[in-house]
Amino acid sequence: MAHLSLQNLTVDFPIYGANSRSLKRRLVSHATGGRIAEGTDDAVVVRALDDVSIEIKDGDRIGLVGHNGAGKSTFLRTVAGIYKPTAGSITITGEVGTLIDPAAGMDPEATGIENIYLRGYVLGMDKGQIADLIDEIADFTELGDFLDLPVKTYSAGMFSRLGFAVSTAIKPDILLIDEGIGAGDAAFQERAAERIEELKRNVRILVVASHDNSLLESLGCRPILFSAGKIVDDGRGGVG
């Protein structure tokens, strides 16, 4: 059983200016008794998620919608355990996999094969598991002998195919997807869509952040509308 439970979850970002992060500011503020420097050391705080409570159950397919900066990506990163709550809590049952930045961990100077290993380790696989994947990835990306060349010689489309292929090799219980996944020419787009479809069938909870309503519809996602860090419409007519 996979389950996600967010209770009164709040995430604040401290935003430091170039000045407030320096040690001098800190020292100066002490030297001046903190009076003059008051308010300059205290970073501006942006409340990215504001008192969000939601239960996401096994089998749920969720689409996060809302304007830029509404809190969709912060929501994904908090569920992934990257950002930590400032208040409230999140309880996660099941393994979490992310498709937030499919290229993270890849090195343009290294060959395709080396990159499959680098990316595989980042995703938590061991050497044997990655070795087993290589043929399948070669097949899926149709990169063939290019896998032995440095990735910097690839076209942008080839590069993103590789990142996509390795990143989607995971089989988590809970899959978090940030928009802008899948790339390449039309033929590859189709296969990428198939792959996403297959992932969707296998995962128990899918959470997709996207501006693309047709994508969310095709994945059968129930839209949850975010605005200013709050859930304003949970897709069931209720307000969270």
Binding site: M1, Y16, L23, A87, G88, G94, Y121, A169, K171
Partner: protein, 295 residues
């Protein structure tokens, strides 16, 4: 919201394996504003366990740096060898030091000084330079720190070639004191890793720290017996006696030169470790939930 237990610990939180988790090993973790700090301790341990990841990326980074060069990472060995050779030549000629004693002393001192200072210096950027990973990939944050340590250990191994050559040319004696290198090195490395972690946390928050440390280390290089020796000063000035870096170097340098380190050097080093462990844990616990925002 008052529960403070981390229920089930896992890679911050769960990293999906390529094999599907069955219902039996479904783990539940709870991250709340109250328990994020305790998770810092777990992160240090979970990061260590991802040795596959940090070791292979450290090896990769080292290879990558010297890709297509003729002698690869041995450029590190060569450039340090040239430095030691030149300084050794100057000091033996100008100050009449005996090369058979001075060159091994200098080589060993420089090799371990370099290991220590590169860990401390690079600690300052360990988290900041991994910003892209930290914000986009769920994995223990400490992995980025261990990767930096592993990279410096690989470089150190290459530099040890110089020690072996110098040993064969100048010393080649054998006695029990050489064995004292093993516990000495473990302690030396532990202090470097733990002290570096303090620097890493502080530098991520305060961006002046790496610059301050780089300048301070330059000064320490001159006031620590590395290219000169305490034997030159029969009555030791206080800045040697109280210089912890001197004692730290001695626990690895003396054994490699076939001598037992003074008990005082071991005491000072153990004291350093005893102070730095709680400090590092305290700082990491406090900083852990905030590193993704700071980096």
């Amino acid at each position: 919201m008052s529960k403070t237990t981390v229920e089930g610990q896992s890679d911050g939180p769960n990293v999906a394996n390529s094999s599907r988790a069955s219902d039996s090993n479904d783990r539940t973790i709870r991250i709340s504003a109250d328990n994020v700090r305790q998770m810092g301790d777990a992160d240090l341990w979970l990061g260590l366990k991802r040795h596959n990841l940090w070791w292979s990326s450290a090896v990769h980074e080292t290879k990558q740096r010297f890709r297509r060069s003729m002698i690869g990472p041995f450029w590190l060995t060569l450039s340090m060898g040239i430095f030691i050779g030149a300084l050794g030549f100057v000091m033996t000629r100008l100050f009449g030091q005996d090369p058979a004693w001075f060159v091994p002393y200098l080589a060993t001192g420089i090799i371990f000084w370099t290991l220590l200072t590169s860990i401390i210096n690079e600690a300052g950027t360990a988290f900041v330079s991994a910003e892209g990973y930290i914000r986009n990939v769920p994995m223990p944050i400490s992995v980025h720190y261990y990767r930096m340590i592993a990279r410096n250990l690989i470089i150190w191994l290459h530099n040890m070639v110089i020690y072996v050559l110098v040993y064969l040319i100048f010393s080649h004696d054998v006695n029990w004191a050489y064995l004292a290198f093993i516990p000495g090195f473990i302690l030396f490395l532990a202090i470097a890793v733990v002290g570096g972690l303090c620097v890493a946390v502080l530098s991520t928050r305060y961006r002046d720290i790496p610059q301050v440390i780089a300048s301070v280390l330059q000064v320490i290089f001159f006031i620590t017996p590395i290219f000169w020796s305490v034997q030159t000063f029969p009555d030791r000035p206080a800045f040697i006696f109280w210089n912890p870096v001197y004692h730290l170097l001695e626990i690895v340098r003396a054994p490699l030169l076939g001598a037992w380190p003074e008990p005082l050097s071991w005491l000072v080093s153990l004291g350093l470790l005893a102070v730095s462990i709680p400090l590092a844990l305290y700082l990491y616990r406090r900083a852990y939930p905030r590193i993704p925002y700071w980096a």
